[in-house]
Symmetry: C2
Subunit: 358 residues, 2 copies
């Protein structure tokens, strides 16, 4: 990329001129600094062709034993896929529990769900490296070696910003490309969108790096509309995310209690156990919801939830509440559509807000 001459040079050495440039280089998987990453059967997952390569490997090699390194949502979603394909599956995590952002008791629900579905979860594992063995891969750890036919490494992602940084495009404090609410970089004719760039976080009121497919889509649309002559602003994110692991929904929006503290806020929180439908409704399921609010302003800061159903729908209500700046008092009496197949007359959202107001 050569902003000064408004050209890019392709790998084929061809030079292409531009009026506007959109940097959409995405993010790549981070790799642990251990030897043996080139051993056959060790994979990362970035795109559909990676997924197909993994699937083909499992079929061709009749893989029976999968090890996933890392316990974030990519790893956990893949564990479900491995189990569906009949593989013996083990998750290694350097920290004490999966999805460290979540409240400890919610991570515990995830561990239960993994175990109930035949996945072995190994916390506090120090990964030392990989070796080829006659029967597959040896995963060396501080707790001793493990045998595997296939290893997935999913310990997070980093924005692909090398080309952009070399071209003089400014990065933000998160390490991703800094953009304004039109998705413009510091160079007005260069836009960035997707997993390579930051987003404005409406709750922390700071740029954040939370690379997700839906945000990437929105940023791309904003960049395109502005290049096309419209004047469209991206309102930013509130940090909503979710995933499914076997029969468990896991979702969050806004800040966690720890994140709020790191921003020098004084958070207060309440965690409730609720039900997805009315208690009288035959198939109702338990769910757990934690709300985090600012002590001084009583402003909602974030929410995390886990349960068999109705989790994402509650978090999305709260995502809208964060975007609308609703107070805890308003959330406690929010007019949600009520019928017994869908909730109790007091929804878990109301109950959690009232609990926190105490």
């Amino acid at each position: 990329m050569h902003p000064e001459t408004q050209t890019v040079v392709l790998a084929s050495r061809e030079t292409v001129p531009f009026d506007y440039l959109v940097v959409a280089t995405g993010a790549g998987p981070r790799l642990p600094k251990v030897p043996g990453l080139d051993v056959d059967g060790i994979f990362t997952l970035r795109n559909v062709s990676d997924a197909l390569r993994i699937k083909r490997f499992i079929q061709d090699r009749r893989a029976k034993r999968a090890v996933a390194v890392g316990a974030g949502y990519i790893s956990l979603e893949m564990c479900e896929a491995f189990r569906t394909l009949g593989l013996e599956t083990t998750v290694l995590e350097s920290e004490a529990r999966p999805v460290m952002r979540l409240p400890e008791e919610f991570s515990a629900k995830i561990v239960e769900e993994l175990q109930a579905n035949g996945v072995t979860f190994m916390p506090r594992v120090n990964l030392e490296g990989f070796d080829r063995s006659p029967s597959g891969i040896v995963v060396r750890t501080g707790n001793g070696p493990l045998e595997a036919d296939l290893v997935l490494i999913a310990v997070g992602v980093a924005p692909e910003v090398k080309l952009a940084a070399e071209a003089g495009i400014a990065l933000g404090r998160t390490g991703a490309i800094a953009v304004n609410d039109h998705q413009q970089t510091n160079l007005p004719f260069v836009y960035a969108a997707g997993d390579c760039c930051e987003s404005y976080h409406r709750v922390s009121r700071k740029p954040a790096y939370i690379p997700l497919g839906d945000t990437a889509n929105k940023q791309g649309r904003i960049a395109g509309a502005n290049i096309g002559g419209q004047d469209v602003t991206f309102p930013g994110i509130v940090g909503s995310q979710c995933f499914k692991v076997f029969g468990l929904e896991v979702a969050s929006t806004g800040l966690t209690e720890d994140e709020a503290r790191q921003l020098a806020l004084t958070p207060v929180s309440a965690t409730i156990q609720g039900v997805s439908r009315a208690r009288s409704y035959p198939s109702t399921k338990r769910l757990w919801l934690k709300l985090v609010a600012d002590t001084g302003t009583r402003r909602l800061l974030g929410a995390q939830a886990v349960g068999a159903e109705g989790v994402v729908s509650r978090i999305n209500i709260l995502a809208g509440a964060l975007a609308g700046g609703l107070s805890l008092e308003e959330i406690a009496y929010l007019d949600l559509a009520y019928a017994p197949p869908f909730s109790g007359s007091w929804d878990p959202v109301h109950i959690a807000a009232q609990e926190l107001l105490k």
Copy 2:
């Protein structure tokens, strides 16, 4: 009720004094003005004991043929119950379609769902009365007579306000008891809560009569808290409601296009067909979502939706958006939790808002 002496007189003639009075007389079913309402086997449904009476009647009389008069949500929910118990079920509606508040195409989905589940739906039926016959009940209509073993009359409800009105408690223009945001009536020591009173509608910015169990619960809590010495205000409703009829979820929030026009607003609307989960996800289902906005201010006024799943959860997001006063632009880019089991990267909520912004 004797506010002037701060006493109430019970049916037993006992006089009970009060410092504060809460009027919670609820609502009763409205009845059509036709002869024969006292024929055995004609029911209305107000509470659990009514439901048990109906169930017992079906069992004791081995009822085989049910006719429901009216096609609102109570009637439709009961049709599902009748079919579950194996009854031949017919719905008679004086209007052209069920749930007249809804967009015409959504009523059509409900008719399809009724028919797919063996319910006969008869629109534009003029009810003339009921007669006893040797084999049960004859339902006389402008289209000719129908035979039934059991008739449910569900043509709406009216607030029970006779005692309150006689006691000098002011009614609002809707005919229900007028209350302020503390649930106080015109008499400061008399409160009202539940289906006998109005609610402030945050979208129309007028008192409305939309009697629902969740609103009643909220009003009761507000009345109790204020009587108990707290100073708690009810923010009002946005008109959210939902029901399930067989495999169909039906939900709405805010105003319909017609209601907005009746309030002298100039609404604009867009209806989209979306999917409940990502298109790539195996069990995704179709849903239909209509958004209504104000032409001048681009403010969201309401939403209606119907579909096999994910309908109530979308309406609840929009209920929060109405409470937070989000603009269509903000809704179009709202940061919802995304993963393929729960939505596409563009949720139907986003797609509908973008369609309406065109």
